[in-house]
């Protein structure tokens, strides 16, 4: 099998799995899960074979041609895609296995695994796509599968609302994305990624419109509102789609189109990411739902990645613009840092979500951290792996997050000190809310019956945790990776000399301040310690979180709804009333008239003939 065929199999296997489940296995949950996990195993295996075997290729096949517009379906498999595919494959496989245990008692087993498969298909499609149009198709498909899976428990009003919210908010971003693709095609004549990298028009609008797609999918300000709500889905879904892979697709897409970037666009991207990182970290502090904390943490980390991408060249590009080659190289440092953090984040955030899933499963679907506590002894394996995840995300030295976050901080330090300050402060908050979460969940005494009777899950629940924990520890050592991802990892900026010292010290300091602060502040109690000690601050943070939803609610209810009602009114009067019903009424009258002509009387019919003959005679005589 050639690499291209293998890649196609990787892409189509989950689709086949989804089709088989949808058509034949809707009632056979066990078989459906087996098929889906098999497909995931195939993806993971094929992804690693392709990535580690150092197969790099591009292949395309023309899909259709309409006038001057020709679109092709193709695969672009470079180091970037290889890294992303490996991450998606490995994390996806872990989460499929975890789902086996987690969803065991769910009645709609088959629908869930079918959804997972269709998601894997769409995600692999995004990774492999060689042009923006194809990327967009799969982009929409992940949105669709995300909708399916968030609303998996659709009997729950909040779940179906959240699914709709995620879908609609993403539409807003995708509209910009689509406009960007159209504009890109219009001004460059192609949407093929490789063709674009060799030749394209410099424009600020195109990258920013394309970035809209990433704002929606990666939940950046101001479209971040859907991600916390998306936690209504089953926890493995949150781990796979809303933490490790799909939301990271926005970052991946940015890295794919980095050649189109111009400095001004990058500045916008940088500030968007920085603002999201800070905002989400602030919101995370007041959350009491274990998954919501993690959701805001994901938002914040995505903000880090977007900021890293935007930071890449901001400063240097002006200095070196005379030499486009150097400018191009420096521009990609952002790609290195962003993709590095994306990979490590995928490992430890998936670990944290699966850990929270294990906790939720153990506590009989209790999600409130103030009703947990004392799980350290009840669920030791979950505790230790979760601890590793927390340590990794807050940047504990020599764990995965430490390296990748340092790379981002260094980039900020070198390019923009304001951003550096904000990100460092965000890192303090990260460490604060993560340690808070960790302490409230696992330490102290159990604060509810559920927590008191918590128990460790089965093998399928714990094995993925261990694998992801190992990856969270080792994922940061780029030297451990096979030498096949150098195309990405060589771009990771590394601090040297004094800058190195500053970065390491800063990163240690922020981690320690946050962790110690959280440890000191939060008591394992049934209420939030911050709310007790400083209700004003707590209230402000809560209001901050709710402000966006309030604004959107106001807009939808007061502005959009009224406009829609106005349009509906006009439609009822003019289109539906005057044009449609009016025309139909006139036609009906004609019909009644014509019907009345058929009197059934033979004499009258003969007169018809006579009339016709008279007309004909007049024609023949030249009278008419």
């Amino acid at each position: 099998m050639t690499p291209v065929q293998l890649a196609i199999v990787t892409l189509l296997a989950p689709l086949a799995s989804a089709a088989v489940i949808a058509l034949f296995l809707r009632r056979a949950g066990g078989l459906a899960s087996a098929v889906s996990v098999l497909a995931a195993t195939l993806i993971a295996g094929a992804a690693l074979m392709l990535a580690l075997g150092n197969f790099r290729f591009e292949a395309a096949h023309e899909w259709f041609q309409l006038g001057g517009l020709s679109l092709s379906l193709g695969i672009k498999f470079d180091d970037l895609a290889a890294l992303m595919l490996s991450v998606v494959g490995v994390v996806g496989w872990c989460i499929h296995v975890f789902s086996l245990g987690y969803m065991r008692d769910d009645p709609a087993h088959a629908r869930y695994f079918g959804g997972l498969s269709i998601f894997m298909f769409s995600m692999v499609g995004i990774v492999l796509a060689d042009n923006l149009f194809m990327l967009f198709i799969f982009w929409e498909l992940v949105g669709f599968s995300s909708y399916l899976l968030i609303g998996h428990w659709h009997e729950k009003q909040s779940a179906s609302d959240a699914a709709k919210k995620a879908f609609i908010v993403n539409r807003v971003g995708d509209f910009g994305f689509l406009l960007g693709i159209v504009m890109c095609y219009w001004s460059n004549g192609t949407v093929n990624l490789t063709a674009l990298s060799s030749h394209h028009v410099f424009s600020m609008l195109i990258p920013l419109l394309l970035f809209c797609g990433a704002v929606g999918k990666s939940a950046q300000l101001p479209l971040q509102i859907w991600l916390p709500d998306a936690m209504e889905g089953p926890t493995p879904v949150s781990a796979l789609i809303h933490a490790a892979t799909m939301v990271a697709a926005g970052i991946y897409m940015l890295c794919r189109i980095n050649v189109l970037m111009v400095p001004d666009a990058l500045t916008v991207i940088m500030w968007t990411g920085t603002a999201t990182a800070l905002y989400a970290a602030l919101c995370a502090i007041t959350q009491s739902d274990i998954k919501k904390v993690l959701a805001y943490s994901t938002l914040s980390q995505l903000g880090f990645m977007v900021a890293a991408f935007g930071l890449g060249p901001t400063q240097f590009i002006y200095d070196n613009f005379s030499d486009p080659k150097i400018g191009m190289l420096l521009m990609q440092t952002g790609v290195g840092a962003a993709m590095f953090h994306l990979s490590t984040h995928a490992f430890f955030k998936a670990l944290l979500f699966l850990g929270s899933g294990s906790v939720i499963h153990g506590c009989h679907h209790e999600q409130d951290i103030f009703k947990m506590g004392g799980l350290r002894t009840k669920m030791p394996l979950t505790f230790w792996t979760f601890t590793i995840g927390v340590a990794a995300i807050i940047g504990f030295p020599y764990l995965a997050g430490f390296f990748s976050k340092d790379a981002i901080l260094y980039l900020a330090y070198a390019n923009n000190r304001t951003v550096f300050a904000v990100l460092a402060f965000t890192a303090i908050l990260t460490s604060l809310y993560m340690v808070r979460l960790w302490k409230l969940t696992f330490l102290g005494a159990p604060r509810s019956d559920h927590a008191a009777h918590a128990h460790e899950g089965g093998f399928t629940l714990t094995a993925p945790l261990v694998i992801l924990a190992v990856l969270s520890v080792l994922g940061g050592y780029t030297s451990l990776y096979p030498k096949v991802f150098t195309g990405v990892f060589s771009l990771i900026p590394e601090a040297e000399g004094s800058a190195h010292t500053v970065i390491v010290l800063t990163s240690l300091a922020v981690m320690l301040i946050g962790a110690v602060g959280a440890f000191a502040l939060y008591r394992p109690a049934a209420t939030d310690s911050l709310a007790q000690k400083s209700p004003g601050l707590f209230g402000a943070l809560t209001a901050l979180k709710e402000s966006f939803d309030a604004v959107y609610d106001y807009y939808v209810a007061k502005v959009q709804q009224r406009f829609a009602m106005l349009l509906n009114f006009l439609e009822q009067i003019f289109l539906s009333g005057l044009i449609v019903r009016g025309l139909a009424g006139v036609a009906g009258l004609f019909g009644l008239g014509a019907r009345a002509l058929h009197v059934g009387n033979l004499n009258v019919y003969v007169y018809w003939f006579l009339g016709g003959l008279t007309l004909f005679w007049a024609c023949a005589a030249g009278l008419l």
Binding site: A584, A587, G588, F590, G591, L592, G593, A594, R595, L597, H598, G600, L602, V604, Y605, V606, W608, F609, G611, G612, L613, L615, F616, W617, C619, A620, A621
Partner: protein
């Protein structure tokens, strides 16, 4: 008349050239003979003999499609065998085959003699086939009268039903009137073409070639008598195809006639009219200054009248009759276009085939759904058909969809070809009228589909349903209906050999 002349005439009698018609006639006689010979119990098999016999003739005709007599005149120029004539022969054979099939469904529901029905259908088909190939007004009139007289009998075939008898009477009177007009037109043409005072007068004014050369000479085409004759002949044909203003008889007769006869009238008789019209259009081509505007106006009026009148019908037979009027209008559009655009002839033939497939699919369903009173077939009777008999409902949808011209069915392609031809010929106004007609037609076709799929039987409908036996579809009917529906779908996607074959001129 000398012996030489007689011998010469006899030599031109190439009986092989009309072998299909002769076979049909023999088959018709065979059926009557079988009825006398066979015991009563076995007489149920006679329609099957008719079916198999016609299928055999059809196969033979298809094999010998490019016969040696193609593009020659036989029987002392009474007949002229053309490609177009061959296409129409196939068309009429298929139509009579399907009418036989419909008869096998409908006739057992009535207390009437059966075998004569098939006999007459076969005779009519043979006459239609001759009609399409006639090259002489005497031949044309005799064949036409054979068809018409046969229909007089068939329309009133259910003689216990007052509707059928009324329809028969109306058809008789109107048919006689139209025959009279046609004959009057022929007489006028005969007189004027044989008038020695006029230039180019001919000794053979009844023959098409003689008449054509007369009309093409000098200002003969503008002669009042010639123009009157042409238009009177046109009026006679307009009665056959149901074109405005000679369409008024259609709903009453279609409603009263037995369902298979309605189908035969709607498809066979109409197509026969068009076959004759095409032949005569070539003969009358010097008169196109008159014919084109007259037919254009007729086409527009026919489309509008047929569609609007069908809007408010509740009886499906009347509805199909009026929709058939509108189809005649669309076909006339193709006829007008064919004067300048040769491809229009192929388009009309394709349309006729698509119309045949779709109409017989619908009539096949109607024959199954109809109760004991054949004239009483209301839209309400179709309520809930999709539930009680999904097969018939599916066939109905495909048939009606094709009649309405919904892509990707054959009817759509037929309309498309005709509209393209009309566009090429520059009949934009008529095209606009036709498009309005299509839009209107979708309303009543879909009303029928809606009845079958989305309506549940009402209280009164329940009674009807209860009084009716469960609809059972026999094997032959099932196969034929499936074939019709499939052909309708396939022809929409892929015109292939039929498209080429029909369009080949």
């Amino acid at each position: 008349m000398t012996t030489d002349l007689l011998q010469q005439a006899a030599a031109s009698n190439q009986w092989a050239a009309i072998f299909p018609e002769l076979s049909l006639g023999c088959l018709a006689l065979l059926l009557l003979g079988l009825e006398m010979v066979l015991p009563k119990d076995n007489q149920r098999q006679i329609p099957l003999v008719a079916l198999v016999g016609q299928a055999g003739i059809l196969v033979g005709l298809l094999i010998n499609f490019y016969t040696a007599t193609l593009d020659t005149e036989t029987f002392n120029s009474l007949l002229r065998h053309t490609h177009q004539g061959q296409v129409m022969r196939v068309f009429f054979l298929v139509a009579s085959l399907l009418v036989t099939m419909l008869g096998m469904i409908s006739l057992p529901k009535q207390k009437v003699p059966r075998v004569e029905f098939y006999h007459i259908v076969l005779v009519i088909s043979a006459a239609m086939m001759l009609l399409a190939q006639s090259n002489h007004f005497v031949m044309l009139f005799v064949a036409l009268e054979t068809v018409t007289v046969g229909f007089y009998i068939l329309v009133s075939y259910f003689r216990t039903s007052p509707f059928s008898l009324e329809a028969g009477l109306k058809y008789l009177v109107m048919g006689a009137l139209s025959s009279g007009l046609l004959l009057f037109g022929i007489a006028l043409l005969y007189g004027v073409a044989g008038n020695p005072a006029l230039p180019g007068h001919t000794a053979e004014p009844m023959g098409f070639s003689g008449l054509h050369s007369f009309l093409a000479t000098g200002a003969n085409a503008h002669h009042f008598l010639a123009a009157s004759g042409v238009l009177l002949v046109l009026a006679g044909i307009a009665f056959k195809i149901g074109a405005f203003p000679f369409q008024i008889w259609i709903p009453d007769v279609y409603q009263g006639a037995p369902t298979p006869v309605t189908a035969f009238l709607a498809v066979g008789s109409k197509a026969a009219g068009f076959a004759v019209l095409f032949n005569l259009l070539q003969v009358f081509s010097p008169c196109s200054w008159l014919l084109v505007p007259v037919i254009t106006v007729m086409a527009a009026a026919t489309i509008l009248f047929g569609n609007f009148a069908a809007l408010t019908q509740h009886n499906v037979k009347r509805l199909l009759g009026l929709s058939g009027v509108s189809h005649a209008g669309f076909l006339l559009l193709g006829v007008v276009a064919s004067v300048t655009v040769p491809m229009a002839v192929g388009a009309v033939h394709f349309y006729l085939f698509a119309y045949l497939l779709a109409s017989f699919a619908v009539f096949g369903v109607m024959a199954h759904v109809a109760g004991a009173n054949d004239a009483d077939q209301e839209l309400d009777h179709y309520a809930g058909l999709a539930k009680t008999n999904p097969f018939l409902a599916a066939v109905l949808v495909i048939g009606l969809g094709s009649l309405a011209g919904i892509p990707p069915l054959a009817g759509f392609m037929g309309k498309l070809f005709i509209f393209v031809a009309a566009f090429k010929a520059g009949h934009y106004g008529l095209l606009g009228v036709a498009i309005v007609g299509v839009v209107v037609s979708i309303y009543y076709y879909f009303g029928w589909i809606k009845a079958a799929f989305f309506e549940t039987p009402t209280a009164s409908g329940d009674e009807c349903q209860a009084s009716r036996p469960q609809i059972s579809v026999g094997l032959v009917a099932r196969v034929v209906l499936t074939l019709l529906a499939m052909a309708t779908v396939v022809l929409g996607f892929y015109q292939g050999p039929l498209g080429v074959w029909v369009a080949l001129r």
